[in-house]
C-alpha cells in the first residue's frame, strides 16, 4: 500500500485501547465512529446553546432553528437535491422506508407490485410486506447470481406496468455489493415505477447525486456516516412528496388545527411531526461538513486497496468468502470453515477487534448462501493495513483455540 490516509487521528475512539490492544474497529457497516468536530459541536450546543426550534422568540431558539436549517441546507447540497424542501429529517433509514411505505403506500391499490432484491436488509423487506398486507399489493423479489450481484435480466423480467415501486440498497450491508443503481432506475422508469434507494451503506463510501441518479426517494442514517444515532434523512422528489399524505401527525407539521379538521404545513415540515432531534440534526450537519472535506475519489481508491488486501489475506486462510469479489464496497463477509461465527467473534473481541457476527439483518440472503451467519469485517477510510493484519492474526488465533 503506497498511501495511508491517517484519518484515525480525527476519531477519538480509534485512539483508545481495547483489552490491552489498540482498538481495531471493523464494524463500520453497523455504525461509524464520530470525528472530534461532531462531538465538540454537539457538546457545545448542549452546554452553551440548547433551545428548541421553530417557535421560540428568544435568542437560543432562533439560533437552534438557524443551525437546523443550515444542516438541512448542507444535506441538500451533499446529495445535490433540487430543494431544501426535499430533505426530511427522520430517525434513520428504517423510519425513512416506513414513511414511504405508509405514505406513498396510501396511493397504491390491490394488485400493484413492489419490487425489491434478494440483497435487502430486513428494513427494506418488512415495511413492504406489511404494506402488501394492508393494501393487497404484491411483493416481488429480484434474485442475485451466485457471485452476489443482481441478476439484471431477471430484474428486467420482473418489471412491468404493474410495478409501482422499486426499492433496493445502493450497497449491500451484508456482502458489500454495489448495485448498478443508475441502470436499475432507468429500467424502472421505463415501466413508470417510482424508485426508492436505501443508501445507508453508500453515503460514507461514494459520492451520491440524487438528481444524476434520478431516484424518487433516497434514505440514509446519520450514525453510519460519522454523525449521531437517532437522526437520518429521507430525500424525496418535491412533486411526489406534495402528493403524499402525512405519515406521522401532531405538532410542528400542521398549519391550522381545529376539532373539525386540520391543514398541514408546507414541505418539509409536513413530514416532521413533533420536536425534532435538534442536537442530532446539528451533529449530522457537522458530519456532512467533515465528509465534504474528504476527497471521495481518493477514499474509494484507498478503501478498494484495503478491500483487496483483506480479500487476498483472508483467501490464504481456511475461510469461505461470501458474496462478490469486485464491484463492491470494503465489506468482507466470510465464514471460518468448521467454526461458528459467534465463536470467531468472541475470540476476535479478546484481541480488541470489533466485527459483526450473525445474519446482519439479511436472513433471506443468508439462506440464499446456505449459511446461518457470517463474520463481517466492514472497513472505513480510517482503517489501515495494520487493521487487516490484526484481523488475520486474530483469525489464526481462532484456529489455535478451536482447531
Amino acid at each position: 500500500m503506497t498511501t495511508m490516509l491517517n484519518k484515525k487521528v480525527d476519531f477519538p475512539v480509534l485512539n483508545t485501547t481495547m483489552r490491552g490492544n489498540d482498538l481495531v474497529y471493523l464494524d463500520n457497516a453497523a455504525t461509524t465512529q464520530k470525528p472530534k468536530s461532531v462531538l465538540e459541536t454537539m457538546n457545545h450546543f448542549l452546554t452553551k446553546e440548547n433551545g428548541t426550534v421553530n417557535r421560540g422568540v428568544y435568542f437560543l431558539s432562533q439560533e437552534a432553528t438557524k443551525k437546523c436549517d443550515d444542516s438541512r441546507k448542507s444535506i441538500q447540497l451533499f446529495l445535490n437535491a433540487a430543494s431544501e424542501k426535499e430533505i426530511i429529517f427522520v430517525k434513520g433509514t428504517t423510519e425513512a422506508i416506513n414513511l414511504v411505505a405508509y405514505s406513498y403506500g396510501e396511493l397504491l391499490k390491490a394488485g400493484d407490485e413492489i419490487l425489491i432484491t434478494e440483497l435487502e436488509h430486513h428494513a427494506n423487506i418488512v415495511p413492504w410486506q406489511q404494506l402488501c398486507l394492508r393494501r393487497g399489493c404484491i411483493l416481488k423479489v429480484a434474485p442475485i447470481t451466485d457471485d452476489g450481484h443482481l441478476d439484471l435480466n431477471e430484474f428486467k423480467k420482473l418489471l412491468s406496468s404493474k410495478t409501482k415501486l422499486v426499492s433496493f440498497c445502493h450497497i449491500s450491508n451484508s456482502i458489500g455489493t454495489i448495485n448498478p443503481a443508475k441502470e436499475m432506475i432507468k429500467l424502472a422508469k421505463e415501466v413508470g415505477a417510482k424508485v426508492m434507494i436505501d443508501g445507508a451503506q453508500a453515503v460514507s463510501h461514494l459520492k451520491v447525486d440524487v438528481q444524476d441518479l434520478d431516484c424518487d426517494f433516497y434514505a440514509f442514517s446519520g450514525h453510519k456516516c460519522f454523525g449521531p444515532t437517532g437522526i437520518g434523512v429521507l430525500y424525496g422528489k418535491e412533486a411526489l412528496l406534495e402528493k403524499m399524505p402525512p405519515f406521522m401527525t401532531g405538532g410542528d407539521m400542521i398549519e391550522t388545527v381545529s376539532f373539525q379538521s386540520s391543514s398541514f404545513a408546507e414541505l418539509p415540515r409536513k413530514f416532521e411531526a413533533g420536536t425534532p432531534a435538534i442536537v442530532e440534526i446539528i451533529g449530522l450537519g457537522e458530519a456532512i461538513k467533515y465528509m465534504n472535506s474528504l476527497d471521495f475519489t481518493e477514499i474509494q481508491e484507498y478503501e478498494q486497496k484495503l478491500l483487496n488486501l483483506a480479500q487476498e489475506k483472508l483467501g490464504e486462510l481456511d475461510v469461505r468468502l461470501i458474496g462478490p469479489t469486485h464491484t463492491k464496497a470494503a465489506i468482507v463477509s466470510f465464514v471460518v470453515n468448521g467454526v461458528h461465527a459467534h465463536d470467531v467473534g468472541t475470540i476476535l473481541d479478546m484481541e480488541g477487534i470489533a466485527v459483526r457476527v450473525g445474519h446482519h439483518c439479511t436472513q433471506p440472503l443468508m439462506k440464499r448462501y446456505k449459511v446461518s451467519s457470517t463474520i463481517r469485517a466492514s472497513f472505513c477510510f480510517y482503517n489501515n493495513m495494520d487493521d487487516v493484519d490484526a484481523l488475520v492474526r486474530g483469525l489464526k488465533k481462532v484456529r489455535e483455540f478451536l482447531g
Binding site: 467454526v339 461458528h340 461465527a341 459467534h342 465463536d343 468472541t346 479478546m350 445474519h359 446461518s372
Partner: protein, 149 residues
C-alpha cells in the same frame, strides 16, 4: 489473562462435544418435542424425547449454532437420558440457576464445565438455549423457546 478466560470457556470437553455431538439426529416415535432459537445469532435447535412411564428413555437433537450452544445441547442429551421428568426438570433448574445467578454447582456433574462461560455475559444465553427448549418439551407447550423472550 484473556487467553486464560478463553481457555476457561472453550474447555476441551466443550470443543469435543461441539465436534462430535452425542445423540445428534431426529428421533422417530418421540413423545415430546422442544424448539429453541436465538433470533439474534441464528442458533436453532430441536429436541426430541421419548418418554415412557415418566422416564426419558431416548433423546435426540438437531440444529446448528456456536460451540457453546452445540456442546450444551449435546451434554444436555447425555445428562437427561434415563432421568425421570421430574429429575430432568430439577437438573434444568439447577443448571440455569448456576449459570445465570450464583446457584450451587455440586449436583451438576460435568455440566460444571460451563462455569467459564459466565465470564462472557453475552455468551451465557448460548449455554442456556437448549435447557430452555428442554423445559418447553417437558411442559409440552407449542412455544418456541427464545433467548429474546
Amino acid at each position: 489473562m484473556d487467553n486464560d478466560r478463553l481457555r476457561a470457556m472453550y474447555q476441551e470437553m466443550i470443543l469435543e462435544h461441539n465436534k462430535s455431538p452425542r445423540n445428534f439426529g431426529p428421533l422417530e416415535g418421540h413423545t415430546h418435542y422442544g424448539h429453541g432459537k436465538n433470533p439474534l445469532c441464528g442458533d436453532d435447535y430441536e429436541f426430541y424425547l421419548e418418554v415412557k412411564n415418566d422416564v426419558i428413555e431416548r433423546v435426540g437433537f438437531t440444529g446448528d449454532g456456536c460451540a457453546i450452544s452445540k456442546s450444551s445441547a449435546s451434554m444436555l442429551t447425555t445428562m437427561v437420558k434415563g432421568k425421570s421428568i421430574e429429575d430432568a426438570r430439577k437438573l434444568s433448574e439447577t443448571f440455569l440457576e448456576f449459570i445465570l445467578n450464583e446457584g450451587p454447582k455440586e449436583s451438576l456433574g460435568k455440566l460444571k464445565i460451563f462455569e467459564g462461560v459466565k465470564q462472557f455475559p453475552v455468551r451465557v444465553k448460548c449455554a442456556t438455549l437448549s435447557w430452555r427448549a428442554l423445559e418447553q418439551a417437558l411442559l409440552k407447550t407449542k412455544h418456541i423457546a427464545s433467548t429474546e423472550a
